[in-house]
């Protein structure tokens, strides 16, 4: 399977099953499209009026060489489907330290931080049980991850401290390397908190949406306070990972201006992501917005390319693609691992397939304090890989999106086996943008 697309006149061919990316000229573009369905004499006859016969022969030789090298028209590695073998092992937990928030963001999928319940903070005992649960379920896997999430997790900073200390000591004892990340609205990043995060090498995601009016409309008029806090925090940050992450909605479909705003402020690691919202919400993306969003991703791509060429590159998270050292095929099949490799823990210790499922009662999987765990539900998520979804095996983006988001699929289609179409369309566009930027990196502008 191949996917051909043109971005600003640049013709790009992705060989889906090998992952090879080619930039091609007009002749190769045409021949690659026709090669699988026409015989050689038919191909030559079709194009010899428009191209020199020697050139056609050269291009065909290149196509055949790439086929021999397994870089063009390569076969599906699982033509008969894919059956997972082995046991699931845990690799990551998302700990909901606080179902409580000091902001009231309109678009919060967590229902202003409470996930449909009351204000609640995770006790340290639950945090420790979660660490034990993760380590016990991790088999021979050495690198484990814990993400502190909310609500606003820094409302429960003392417990965060305890969990990090406990995780480090228990991890060391079990031969595991635990890594921690924190997602925060930045308002509680005091000097003490900042020093702690720096000293403990904790990666931080800082929420800010972009332009002041855009941010303020959704995030409780907090732009000035958040920006001041982020600036103070990053000034003291020496090198550990951070991202600024924003959300775009149908009220700022011109979101490339928000990325530009953040870049103009001097921030270099950015992520601006589509809102997760129910169809009734006024800010939810709708199918009719798709053409506008796709154009906007193109505009953003050009903007990022220009910034890179001007020597001020911006690392935009959703256009990151690693063509030489990316994940292996097994990883591409398993995707996020929600429900079997990755689980979320609510403040009371309840387990869910991921942060977005928290509060969906049918998807409560167990409890870290009692050790109860629904292995049947885990098996369902494990089987929900792309080869078991009707729409995915024939999609050119399958090895990059890995079958899409289970939470969105369940929310919009009632089943984790049918991907959320709007998400698919946006993912495919982002991937084209990312591949175009990679091609431009490989072939610098003259």
């Amino acid at each position: 399977m191949i996917h051909r697309f043109i971005f600003d006149g640049v013709k790009i061919v992705l060989d889906v099953h090998s992952g090879a990316v080619h930039e091609v000229d007009d002749l190769a573009w045409a021949l690659i499209e026709d090669y699988p369905r026409l015989k050689l004499p038919e191909l030559v006859a079709k194009y010899e009026g428009r191209y020199d016969s020697g050139e056609i022969a050269d291009a065909l030789a290149e196509i055949e060489r790439l086929m021999q090298e397994g870089l063009l028209y390569s076969p599906d590695p699982y033509p008969e489907g894919y059956n997972r073998t082995g046991e699931s092992v845990l690799k990551a937990l998302c700990l909901h330290l606080a179902h409580k928030c000091n902001l009231r963001c309109r678009y919060c999928f967590a229902g202003q931080g409470r996930f449909g319940g009351e204000d609640e903070l995770m006790p340290a005992s639950v945090g420790r049980a979660a660490v034990d649960f993760l380590i016990a379920g991790s088999g021979r896997r050495r690198r484990l991850e814990i993400d502190f999430f909310g609500g606003e997790p820094l409302l429960n900073f003392p417990v965060l401290n305890e969990i990090v200390d406990y995780g480090r000591s228990q991890g060391e004892r079990a031969g595991k390397n635990l890594r921690f990340t924190l997602t925060t609205n930045a308002l509680l990043l005091t000097e003490e908190v900042a020093d702690y995060l720096e000293q403990n090498g904790i990666s931080v995601i800082l929420s800010i949406d972009g332009r002041p009016a855009v941010h303020n409309a959704m995030r409780s008029n907090s732009y000035t306070a958040v920006l001041d806090s982020i600036r103070r925090f990053l000034a003291g940050r020496k090198g550990y990972d951070y991202y600024l992450r924003g959300t775009f909605t149908r009220h700022n479909l011109d979101f490339s201006a928000d990325v530009s705003h953040l870049a103009d402020l001097g921030f270099e690691r950015l992520s601006v992501e589509p809102v997760v919202a129910s169809e009734e919400d006024d800010f939810a993306l709708q199918l009719k917005d798709i053409p506008v969003v796709l154009d906007e991703y193109e505009r953003l791509t050009r903007e990022l390319l220009q910034r890179a060429r001007n020597g001020r590159p911006v690392d935009f998270y959703h256009f990151k693609v690693d063509l030489s050292g990316g994940p292996c095929l097994a990883r591409r099949l398993s995707g996020c691992g929600a429900g079997h490799e990755y689980l979320a823990v609510a403040p009371d210790g309840a387990l869910y397939p991921c942060h977005q499922f928290v509060g969906r009662k049918d998807y409560r999987m167990g409890d870290v304090t009692s050790g109860d765990f629904n292995r049947e539900l885990m098996g369902l998520f494990r089987r929900a890989h792309l080869y078991n979804k009707e729409q995915c095996p024939g999609c050119w983006a399958k090895f990059y999106c890995s079958g899409g988001c289970h939470a969105n699929a369940q929310a919009f289609n009632g089943t984790i086996f049918q991907p959320y179409e709007l998400g698919c369309v946006l993912t495919r566009k982002r991937l084209e943008c990312a591949l175009y930027l990679k091609v431009q990196e490989a072939v610098p502008a003259v």
Binding site: V21, A59, T85, C94, I205, T247, V276, R331, G423
Partner: protein, 47 residues
């Protein structure tokens, strides 16, 4: 590098990577709603 086709990368996904993988790579979020768990994301931990 061909005259008509310039190959940007030569990685072949399907070579030597069948099976379950080592699982040491970082977790990622498919919804595009969560950056946090994916910082420095999606590279093979063996590379």
């Amino acid at each position: 590098m061909g005259k008509h086709i310039k190959t940007v990368n030569t990685k072949r996904l399907s070579v030597g990577t069948k099976g379950e993988g080592c699982g040491e790579c970082q977790t990622s979020c498919q919804s595009a709603c969560k950056t946090s768990i994916t910082v420095g994301n999606q590279s093979c931990a063996k590379k």
